[in-house]
């Protein structure tokens, strides 16, 4: 290639490309988005409700965990870190019910609007309620107890013969263990009579109601469960950065999760993990392509390329990686 009359248009910087710390962090992000998107799969793929507010539930989960464990604005813990985890899930569950009760009676498209409005309301509240959330300074310092567990885990890994694992390796393990457990649980749920009613609601709400199923109650349950998955994803987002701030919960988070959902395929839980891994490794990998343009432009180009991949996917494999083509064709 040295004989080329011009400089190569782009190249890959192998130094950062092989940075294991960096890719561990990307792996955690992929795991976090797997959990987040599992909730969307339950809503969109199996219940037919277009939850565009998933980032909002993630924010409620992350913030309530942080606030409970270090106090409003970091002024002293309200509860122990470990207790803050289940409590934050319960709080987010309550938010799910609160959002769903008035808005799930709306038609699908209006619900989508209501959901995104909820998510933005949460984010803007977090940005402005400084005495509670620290505003755009965010909250940090809640991960000490996790860190001590993580160093124990690191000790085990060392004793297994890997002397120098990446710092975030224990978190990577945990997020993927949780993601795997949740995937298996949700898959099991889908095969039960309960899951069958959800699918019936997705197919035709009126038919389900005519057969004695309370479609609204099932949509509400679906949204509430999805909200709790958002909360769990929120924990990992917070622990990955050891920091919670409002910019982490912009609507783009939900849109990325939808992208992952489509990439992996609708109505398939395994597709979610696949979509999340492909998306994040593609997206972060594109960071290392050197183009003769400045960094801000590279950052935008990454979105363009990811968009391109999604468009090509829609054109050639609309059902996504794991979705069933028959289901695409039969949909209405």
């Amino acid at each position: 290639m040295t004989g080329l009359p011009f400089d190569p248009l782009f190249a890959i910087t192998f130094e950062s490309f092989t940075d294991i710390e960096f890719w561990t962090s990307v792996g955690i992000l992929a795991g976090t988005y797997t959990i987040l998107t599992l909730g969307l799969q339950l809503n969109v793929g199996y219940t037919g409700i277009f939850n565009f507010g998933q980032a909002g539930f993630m924010a409620v989960g992350a913030y309530s965990m942080a606030i409970l464990s270090v106090g409003p604005n970091g002024e002293g813990a309200i509860v122990d870190f470990w207790l803050s985890l289940p409590l934050s899930v319960l709080i987010t569950l309550a938010f799910g019910l609160l959002v769903g009760l008035p808005s799930l009676r709306l038609r699908a498209d209006y619900f989508a609007i209501a959901a995104i409005a909820f998510a933005e309301a949460v984010r803007l509240f977090a940005l402005n309620a400084r005495s509670l959330t620290g505003g755009n300074q965010g909250i940090f310092g809640f991960a000490a107890e996790w860190d001590s567990v993580a160093s124990t885990v690191e000790g085990w890994i060392n004793s297994l013969g890997w002397s120098d694992p990446p710092t975030l390796f224990p978190l990577l393990l945990l997020v993927w263990i949780v993601a795997a457990l949740l995937t298996v649980t949700l898959r099991w749920l889908q095969e039960t009579p309960w899951g069958r009613v959800l699918r019936a609601v997705r197919e035709d709400e009126d038919a389900a109601r005519a057969l004695g199923k309370n479609a609204f109650a099932y949509k509400l349950q679906s949204l509430a469960i999805s909200a709790t998955l958002g909360a769990v994803a929120g924990w990992f987002l917070a622990l990955n950065l050891n920091f919670v701030n409002p910019t982490a919960f912009e609507p783009i988070v939900t849109f990325v999760a939808f992208g992952i959902l489509i990439l992996g395929g609708l109505a398939n839980y395994y597709g979610v993990a696949f979509g999340a891994i492909v998306f994040w490794f593609l997206f972060e990998g594109l960071r290392f392509i050197e183009l003769p343009i400045d960094e801000v432009q590279v950052a935008s180009i990454r979105f363009v390329l990811v968009g391109l991949v999604l468009i090509l996917l829609m054109a050639f494999r609309p059902q996504g990686a794991f979705g069933k083509r028959e289901e695409m064709v039969l949909g209405d």
Partner: protein
């Protein structure tokens, strides 16, 4: 007064002369200024096969939608087994034992035929998340029963070979049969059928009618069905209720209704009866 025009002599009926299982009184439903159902009063007797007929636009399907809770009534009352039902949500009415089918079939397209059937079974504890987790044995046992019942019904309507296919791949007639057998899975006491014969072949239609007779005899099921095929109506129902312009205009045995002048007028258009009567509306 509405009562004057809807008052109908009601001679005793040969079959299904039990007490009314369903009663509707002065049911009203309007869309803006159009009174789709305009004071309909009727009852359905237990163990009867009652046909609801009338010209297009008479309000039959709207009446179904009102009494099954899909539309909110603008007036009147209705009861099933003495329990008032207007104002209740559709799923609650279905659980009281009144199940309906739709004129335009609602097959759950991206679900297998067998799942369509099993969905309809009542009393499945596994549909509630608490008992799903707390008593896995109970709902698993129920699933077995329900699957066997579903296969039996599918066999009856020649749908058994399609059990594992997506319902969306079925033909129009097959969907009609699926919707019907699905409604039967729900074990209703009163089954409302909106044009059950439309689009299915005569042999299967006959089998369906025979099955209705058998269900009535064996489990005491009651049927109210909207139908345009007069041969079916006259040959297979023991009572016929005629609607026109949102009201019940006649009610009796097929023979009585057949010769009722009001019914003939409604079907042929009242203009014909009052020929030269200055129908300038």
């Amino acid at each position: 007064m509405a009562t004057e025009t809807t008052a109908v002599e009601r001679p005793p009926v040969a079959a299904g002369d039990g007490a009314p299982i369903f009663e509707a009184t002065e049911v009203v439903k309007h869309f803006g200024g159009i009174f789709a159902v305009d004071g309909a009063t009727l009852d359905v007797r237990e163990r009867s096969i009652t046909a609801l007929i009338g010209p297009n636009g008479a309000g039959k399907t709207t009446f179904f939608n009102v009494i099954t809770g899909f539309y909110r009534a603008d007036g009147g009352s209705a009861s099933l087994n003495g329990t008032p039902i207007l104002g209740r949500p559709p799923h609650a009415i279905a659980r009281l034992g009144m199940v309906r089918t739709f004129q335009i079939t609602k097959a759950l397209a991206r679900m297998p035929v067998i799942d369509n059937m099993m969905l309809a079974a009542p009393d499945q504890p596994g549909e509630r998340i608490v008992s799903l987790l707390a008593r896995p044995r109970g709902w698993r046992r129920r699933e077995h029963e329900v699957r066997a019942q579903a296969m039996e019904l599918l066999e009856m309507f020649n749908l058994q070979p399609l059990a594992d296919e997506y319902a969306g791949t079925l033909s129009g007639g097959q969907r009609k049969l699926l919707e019907l057998s699905r409604a039967l899975m729900a074990r209703p006491r009163l089954l409302l059928l909106d044009e059950p014969m439309a689009g299915i072949n005569p042999t299967l239609g006959r089998r369906l009618l025979d099955h209705m007779q058998r269900l009535r005899a064996e489990v005491g099921m009651t049927f109210l069905f909207i139908e345009h095929d007069m041969e079916v109506v006259m040959g297979h129902s023991d009572r016929v209720i005629v609607m026109a312009e949102g009201r019940v205009i006649a009610d009796g045995t097929p023979q009585e209704v057949r010769s009722d002048q009001k019914v003939i007028d409604a079907y042929l258009g009242s203009g014909t009866a009052k020929e030269g009567g200055g129908n300038g509306g």
